[in-house]
Point group: C2
Chain length 126, copies 2
DNA sequence: TTTGTTAATGCAACAAGGTTGCGTTATATT
DNA sequence: AATATAACGCAACCTTGTTGCATTAACAAA
């Protein structure tokens, strides 16, 4: 898999996630940083950071890929099964620090799950 | 919105969903029926059937759109918040008739949610 | 059963998110 | 400074899904 080099792209991208529990879509990152870095680079760095357990990814509305900083995940296992909340008005997505009880299902082995909740966020909530 | 005409495409597509709780991806339907109907038609019929509350849709692995028959949904509201299970081995997806408790979140209005569980299905479970 | 309205279809072209191959650049090690 | 190779940029491509428009076919009414 190789060593991670501290390149500018890695540095800048990591910085984007060092603020909060807010998730950022690959699309948004490309819109924002596409002049500085090639989109291929951005996709590859995100991939690698996910592989290394630094970020986790999930799918939002319309199948867009979103990334957020992992909390207590290692490269080996992503324990994180928190739900994500996407605002249907402003589009913002964040990680909810809520424990979701995954229902027991007979004869099936659950390996991962994605819970996407959609509605109006605090800011867009009238 | 217009009346629904009983065309061949509608008939054939509806037939595909009349069996079980198994979901079918738009992609699979196009692979299967693409010689008979144009993909545009397939997409449009699926759209319309969803609008009319006959089918519901959700996103599976890789952001692919899946459809399944609604159970107790009307054109006006999709109450259905059941989780979906996708097998990581064979790719099969089905609706789980399990009630998921959506966590209460202060200051947010939940409008819908998607719960995708991934793992090994009954058949692929060793 | 013919006529007329308009929903539904097919086709081609497009759009958006993401991926791949490959030659070049730059990081880190000796 | 020399070297190995990870990371990069670029262009071209792939896939899922959408749009515009001319044509066809449901279906209701005459």
């Amino acid at each position: 898999m190789g060593v991670i080099r501290k390149t500018k792209a890695v540095e800048v991208l990591l910085n984007e996630f060092n603020t909060s529990t807010v998730a950022i879509s690959a699309k948004a990152l490309i819109e924002q940083l596409g002049d500085t870095f090639n989109k291929t680079t951005i996709y590859r760095v995100l991939d690698k950071l996910e592989d290394d357990g630094v970020l986790h990814s999930f799918l939002g509305k319309e199948g867009l890929k979103w990334y957020a900083k992992c909390n207590g995940c290692t490269a080996k296992e992503h324990k994180d099964v928190h739900p994500h909340f996407q605002c249907l008005v402003c589009g913002k997505v964040d990680c909810l620090s809520i424990n979701v009880t995954i229902p027991k299902i007979p004869n099936r082995k659950i390996e991962m799950s994605q819970f996407l909740i959609q509605g109006k966020c605090e800011d867009c909530f009238t």
